[in-house]
Subunit: 363 residues, 2 copies
């Protein structure tokens, strides 16, 4: 097990994890801290697992400065299940919800919400090819909530400040792909959710942060696994939780704290993204970024080359250089570099050097 091969992993999710986290998980895999059992084998009602989940929650609370009137839940089903649970729980009979549509994920979120009741787009940038943030919002003052996707993983557009909902309308955010990549003001939100598999851990667990008053909206008689109120009351332990995924997420939270917290990781993330965007901007049009400069995501950088043939060659050559996962999403094509928290500065720099070298040879 010594000196395992490791590559630079630009996958959009599941994505790169901190090496230190993987090493800890590996070392503890057969015997979790003297229990003689793997984390996968211990009871979710044991004091050992209680410590894992409570520490993860406390660390996340510290990282994001989550106020006391918010609950944290670790649930299954991904952001995709939240697309349904959200309107089921927060949109009382007859009410409508507002959605800001800025890419594939917010478009999918409103589609799911419409299956279950009324929802309208407060803005929609599809005409612009989802390459920007909306210039203005058409807001419903009576909306059950205002939903936005803080970072669109496929189109690479990111909100750097929250949209302002009308007085009394709670703000709801899908933060799957920029979760814990920078500080945010949680007190502005009614609910925040995100799949772990980009910045925070493996696939199979989703974090939901919900303000206490939102829990009062849950209607009677929802199936318990779709009921925020019941899940929050159980402390994520209504049924057997995805214990190993929660354990790894907890290790990632601890790693982020050790690095210096979210302000520090934001600085590192910004430096990595700036380096890649500079390589695009200084390429004289050889590389063309998808997103408008003011909306450029710090996490996901989709860009194009002069031809699809060159894009294919780029992905192949990159792979030979151990730069993995650079193919753009099948729905938009091109190249996408996802540079989440765990992507090292060295990895981003190696990509930049590769881009320059590739342009020199093929430009």
């Amino acid at each position: 097990m010594s000196n395992p091969k490791r590559v630079f992993n630009f996958n959009a999710g599941p994505a790169v994890l901190p090496l230190e986290v993987l090493e800890t998980a590996q070392a503890e895999l057969l015997d979790f801290r003297g229990t003689g059992m793997s984390v996968m084998e211990i009871s979710h009602r044991s004091k050992e697992f209680e410590a894992i989940i409570q520490t993860a929650e406390a660390d996340l609370r510290e990282l994001l400065s989550i106020p006391d009137n918010y609950k944290i839940m670790f649930v299954q089903g991904g952001a995709s299940l939240q697309f349904a649970m959200l309107p089921m729980n927060l949109r009382a009979g007859g009410a409508s919800a507002d959605y800001i549509v800025t890419g594939t994920w917010s478009k999918t979120a409103i589609k799911e919400a419409k299956k279950l009741g009324a929802a309208r787009a407060a803005a929609n940038t599809e005409k612009e090819g989802f390459n920007c943030l909306p210039e203005s919002l058409d807001l419903d003052p009576n909306a059950a909530y205002l939903h936005f996707t803080s970072n669109e993983t496929i189109h690479g557009v990111e909100f750097f400040s929250e949209p302002t909902p009308p007085e009394g309308v709670p703000l709801v955010c899908d933060t799957s792909s920029d979760f814990i990549s920078r500080p945010i003001d949680v007190s502005k939100y009614g609910l925040i959710y995100g799949g772990a598999q980009k910045n925070a851990g493996p696939a199979g667990v989703t974090v939901v942060i919900i303000r206490d008053d939102m829990l009062e909206r849950t209607p009677e008689n929802l199936p318990v696994m779709l009921d925020y109120k019941a899940l929050a009351a159980s402390g994520s332990l209504h049924n057997t939780p995805p214990a190993f995924a929660i354990y790894v997420v907890g290790l990632v939270f601890r790693w982020v704290k050790k690095l210096g917290g979210l302000a520090e990781i934001q600085k590192i993330n910004r430096q990595k993204a700036d380096a890649v965007y500079a390589a695009i901007d200084e390429s004289g049009g050889f590389y063309r970024g998808h997103a408008a400069p003011e909306a450029r995501s710090v996490m996901n950088i989709p860009f194009r080359l002069p031809s699809e043939e060159l894009e294919e060659t780029f992905v192949k050559e990159a792979k030979k250089n151990d730069l993995i996962g650079l193919k753009g999403h099948r729905s938009v094509g091109g190249i996408r570099a996802s540079i989440y928290n765990a992507m090292t500065a060295e990895g981003a720099e190696t990509l930049v050097q590769f881009m320059k070298e590739f342009q020199r040879k093929n430009g």
Copy 2:
């Protein structure tokens, strides 16, 4: 990492995993078969993950002799989410479903089904303290399906042959706690589901085996994560699946195949259970099994001692001897030994010796 401490783990789930499976997962944790990435880091759209999920599916199909007109899905949310998805998908508007209630889990399943529509108990052994199988069934010939729980994890009662539904009524089974512990005739079922975290892997993935004609029942406009038809069509890849859990489940399927398949593992499981039940039966009443002899589970063996004080001492002394997880479920008290596939014959034998020694000292 050499010589990790390992105990005999009688937890009811999450539960013991085969040592060989854990060792493989550990060895591959930083570099999955030369990719330079962990299984937790590879894309769920990569050819490496495709191979993982397709191999897992093929191995399960072979183990259970699953006919071609059944789909296999790996989903999130546990059996508890299936309690809701099942009636949402299989019970068309206005129809009623039948449930055989033989313990906590089938009781919970019918409770969830009633939240969403009509359901009735075709039998209910609660008056008997859930210690037996029903003597007769009161079956609705027009039921949308007949549901039973093949093994009740808490009460330790197990069906060894399927109940027979009326002509045209599909049989549905929650097999969470005896999944792949013995051969079954899948062709008798419309749908089979089970959480992995007892016999098949870590918590966080649930296996659903569904006959093709059942998929035609899914109504329009279900949220996609609750829609069997959409999930089956996507090959478990509608959204990011719990990749690491599926990988471990695949390793367990491979391990069962190597052991000789389900007929062989059934033999081993039966020998382990017989040894523990013999220790109970030969104790002259010191140990009293919960289940009636003809309903005794091969997987979960709940039993009582002469007093709660002795039960407490039993659990403590067992723990000192590295026999872990023997405390009964908080809802019924007493002792419970869960002896799933991965519990070794040595572990069961060590428990039997401990029981005899404990009785000698305290009887």
